[in-house]
């Protein structure tokens, strides 16, 4: 058994930011991550990070308004105010740590335009901003020498009487299972993209934190709000950054028209993501697509600028679509990208379980509401990662390790894993179940949804759960048993899918990313509220509501 003041689960931007902050405050912090920190999916954020810097003539309130409008008024305005106020200092902190942000002619930080915002306020490193931030934060973790349990996988949380006391984890390399006792646990496990097929998300994005919290009675909030990114490649779902449109790219239909003129005459290609994705899907559905895609055209930007600012996505086009974007437009389509919902937390990352925090994509504060603006996710991870680390480090000063926590928690997990490994015959491997889940979700819970489709998805989910109960693991060994890990992750994903479908069925209106063809209008009088799903004492999902916090921006008709 290991002891730490604070255990951070996940080593992406939110996790490392939390760990760095808590460590600076003097707490004994350890990070557990199922991959090496620099493998985390924060890497994949390409375009940039938003911040309204006052010395550039920008105003945090403008940023907040754009975010609130982008969220289709479902975001909590107190949380959004905090995020936008603290954005500038966060970006500057990262620059001081070493991030090589692109500069303007004076050598100050340069900005690019991003969707859904009236002002260019997106700070960036070429088209690999997430990677640049992640690697620099990892440098700082190396510098302070924080303990990182690299390639350790979290099996369960230790929660007793509404308080979290640690987690049970498996060292992947040896297969050993340990209990780690902690006075506070911060979940920073990222998204759940693999619940959908295809998705822009990495294979590690399996909703672990959401499922762990859900399992222990913490509510998941607004899980129906799943973002489809407007520009993903058909072949493998890979993301082409919004930076392309930020730098001036056009979206064209099969007739060569810039169709966004019809849907968002002011913001065009840079309208909010939900708006652009819906527009694309409408074009495709009405027969103006090309093989289920529309075209992203950057040719007019020119090879020099493409190479300087969009080189990675140019390479992605060459590698995965056989298209060199310098010479021809690349076919793209909306693809599952981000989970706006997540574990419900307050503005300090605290969940309803004492000692349990969440930050980043796995959490729902909520700052993204029904639709996240591009380049607000990196900001979310850093601001709320820091706040969670800060709050937790204060709380643990007056908390003691619980003596009731013994190795029995680990023993319980060892037995569960052994039971899974012992299972033979009759069942199937995890792979096909995961694929069927992903395809069901992508069919019935995509850009456009309706009652019948969502009910079908719920029905199919039941069948998948039955198949999962008999799933078999080929690899019976202890060393680096990825087969076992994928199987456990699939268990997490099935729980996440349940929350998504239930949330979607519950919300009887169209708002943000949740667009129902059978209920196409936003209904503020009945549904300007969050949907929370939590397991009751019997393990059954229970739905409750919470009002949206409005500070100074009343809901208005949303157009771009």
């Amino acid at each position: 058994m290991f002891d730490h003041d604070i255990l951070v689960i996940g080593a992406g931007l939110a996790g490392m930011r939390a760990a760095y902050t808590a460590s600076q405050s003097g707490a004994d912090v350890a990070i557990v991550s199922k991959v090496y920190p620099v493998r985390s999916h924060s890497n994949a954020a390409q375009g940039g990070i938003n911040a309204a810097l006052t010395d550039r003539g920008d105003d945090w309130e403008d940023h907040a308004y754009d975010t609130i409008k982008g969220s289709d008024y479902l975001g909590d305005q107190d949380a959004i105010e905090i995020m936008c106020r603290e954005a500038g200092s966060e970006v500057i902190s990262m620059e001081h740590m070493g991030v090589i942000f692109n500069r303007d002619e004076e050598g100050k930080l340069g900005v690019r335009s991003f969707g859904g915002q009236r002002q260019a306020r997106t700070f960036f490193v070429a088209d690999f901003t997430g990677q640049a931030l992640l690697h620099v934060l990892h440098e700082q973790i190396l510098k302070i020498g924080a303990r990182v349990y690299e390639e350790w996988f979290v099996l369960s949380l230790i929660v007793e009487d509404g308080e979290c006391h640690g987690a049970v984890v498996m060292e992947i390399r040896s297969g050993e299972v340990h209990a780690i006792r902690a006075k506070a646990v911060i979940l920073a496990t990222g998204g759940l993209g693999r619940v959908f097929e295809p998705s822009t998300n990495a294979l590690i994005c399996t909703g672990d934190g959401m499922a762990l919290a859900y399992e222990n009675g913490a509510p998941l909030m607004d899980m129906e709000m799943v973002q489809y990114h407007p520009t993903t490649l058909k072949a493998n779902g890979a993301l082409l950054s919004e930076a392309a449109r930020g730098e001036g790219a056009y979206l064209l239909n099969s007739e060569g028209d810039r169709f966004m003129q019809e849907y968002a005459p002011n913001m065009l290609e840079l309208a909010s993501r939900d708006v652009v994705s819906r527009s694309e899907q409408t074009e495709i559905n009405e027969g103006r697509g090309i093989d289920g895609c529309v075209l992203l055209d950057v040719r007019h930007i020119g090879e020099t600028l493409i190479n300087e600012k969009l080189s990675q996505i140019r390479q992605l086009g060459i590698d995965f679509a056989n298209v060199d974007m310098v010479h021809e437009p690349v076919p793209i389509r909306p693809g599952m990208h981000y989970q706006m919902g997540g574990i419900k937390t307050d503005v300090n990352g605290l969940t309803n379980i004492m000692g349990l925090y969440a930050a980043g994509e796995t959490a729902c504060v909520s700052v993204h509401g029904g639709n996240r603006l591009g380049a607000n996710s990196l900001l979310d991870t850093l601001v709320f990662g820091r706040r969670a680390g800060d709050h937790a480090s204060n709380v643990v000063r007056s908390r003691q390790h619980s003596d009731a926590i013994t190795d029995q928690y680990a023993e319980r997990e060892r037995n569960r894993l052994q039971e899974m490994l012992n299972r033979n015959g009759g069942g199937e491997l995890f792979g096909k179940i995961r694929l069927d889940l992903g395809e069901a979700m992508n069919t019935h819970l995509a850009v456009y949804r309706d009652q019948q489709g969502m009910e079908t998805a719920l029905e199919e989910l039941k069948g998948l759960k039955t198949r999962y109960d008999r799933v078999i693991v080929h690899d019976k060994g202890k060393t680096f048993n990825t087969n076992l890990i994928f199987t456990l992750e699939l268990g997490f994903m099935l729980d996440c899918a349940e929350a998504i479908i239930l949330g979607a069925l519950e919300r009887k209106e169209s708002r943000g990313a949740h667009t129902r063809t059978d209920m196409p209008d936003r209904d503020d009088s009945n549904w300007l509220k969050h949907i929370l799903i939590a397991k009751d004492e019997n393990g059954q999902p229970d739905v409750t509501y919470q009002d949206v916090t409005i500070t100074q921006w009343e809901p208005q008709v949303r157009s771009y």
């Binding site: 991959v35 090496y36 620099v38 493998r39 985390s40 999916h41 890497n43 994949a44 010395d55 500057i92 620059e95 001081h96 740590m97 070493g98 090589i100 942000f101 692109n102 500069r103 002619e105 050598g107 100050k108 930080l109 340069g110 490193v125 070429a126 690999f128 990677q131 640049a132 690697h135 440098e139 190396l142 510098k143 990495a202 294979l203 590690i204 072949a235 493998n236 890979a238 993301l239 300087e308 990675q312 390479q315 992605l316 590698d319 995965f320 056989n322 491997l429 792979g431 096909k432 693991v473 080929h474 690899d475 060994g477 202890k478 060393t479 680096f480 048993n481 990825t482 087969n483 994928f486």
Partner: protein, 317 residues
């Protein structure tokens, strides 16, 4: 398209833990990558196949491995580009790092070397209230190195690391360059001192393997060469490495080719008895192998062209 993935496997938990090859025949799409093939195997055929992978977009650096003997990222390598005669592809774990299981290797050595270069920004003086002012050109230049995804392909195929575990290696040295070339970093002197030591920049043999296998165009060897110049500029002119480089250049400028007898003498110094004695067995071996350089050094007949190249390069500087 039918391909046979010939995978080098290793199971430390088995009764006889030795590496062996296993063939998997899979039916894949024309555009499928090596990773697509391997995922198909582990999801549909044999769940026990172990490999690391995550992003599928050449950004997380998890899936470096050797295909047909050379390090690649499985996720951005198309099967059609690497398939051998008979539809076979040979897949092995990355080199220079210990085996854990199947295609999974120990990355400890990789991270130890990265840690050894103190890979964090070390500015001096008070932090500015706002950002550091820095030229965009410098930042764009650094982006070329920050593009490194720490996949370890260069470390896998580094021919020096294969024989000298003490060498910092291409990834760590490129990482070090990222700080030396950063206008905000003020620790150049101590960094360059360290890099001048054994295991540092002078131990690279310029075989170009790291440049060839790097999936992100980071050019580790080019960075190492830039670091050599910076090391010399920082006043380390009396190291063997610096003297070797100087002597090499001098000879080529003088006669258009390297005088291989003189090179070690000028590098180590004629009266450096210890090093001179160490050369004797090398001389004997080369004599026996018929590879002794000529006693009388001869000028390159195209000497005037070599001079012109020198002049041209020096004018450009």
């Amino acid at each position: 398209m039918q391909v046979t993935l010939n995978v080098r496997r290793y199971d430390p938990d088995s009764d006889q833990p030795v590496p062996y090859d296993q063939e998997y025949s899979v039916d894949v799409d024309e555009n499928a990558t090596v990773l697509d093939g391997l995922i198909k195997v582990r999801e549909e055929v044999d769940g026990s196949l172990a490999l690391r992978c995550s992003c599928r977009s050449a950004i997380c650096g998890s899936c470096s491995m050797r295909v047909n003997g050379q390090a690649i990222l499985a996720c951005n390598t198309k099967l059609t580009d690497v398939v051998l005669e008979g539809g076979r592809v040979d897949i092995e774990p990355a080199g220079n790092m210990g085996l854990i299981k199947d295609l999974v290797v120990e990355f400890d050595i990789f991270w130890d070397k990265v840690r050894a270069v103190e890979p964090w920004l070390q500015p001096e003086g008070e932090e500015p209230e706002s950002e550091y002012i820095a030229p965009n050109d410098d930042m764009v230049h650094l982006a070329g190195v920050m593009g490194c995804i720490m996949c370890g392909a260069c470390v896998s195929d580094c021919t020096v690391l294969e024989v000298d575990r003490n060498f910092l290696g291409p990834a760590a040295l490129a990482k070090s360059y990222r700080f030396v070339a950063d206008p905000r970093d003020d620790a150049d002197e101590s960094r360059l001192d360290e890099l001048n030591e054994s295991g540092g920049v002078w131990d690279c043999t310029r075989c170009m393997m790291c440049v060839e296998v790097c999936p992100k165009g980071v050019d580790p060897m080019g960075r190492i060469m830039s670091l050599r110049e910076k090391v010399i500029d920082a006043g380390h002119t009396e190291t063997y490495g610096a003297r070797h480089a100087e002597a090499f250049t001098r000879m080529v400028r003088h006669s258009g080719r390297v005088d291989e007898l003189q090179l070690p003498i000028q590098t180590f110094g004629m009266f450096n008895v210890k090093e001179m004695i160490k050369l004797i067995p090398v001389g004997v071996r080369s004599q026996l192998a018929g590879k002794r350089p000529p006693i009388m050094h001869q000028k390159n007949p195209g000497m005037s062209n070599v001079r012109r190249i020198f002049n041209r390069v020096e004018d450009k500087r």
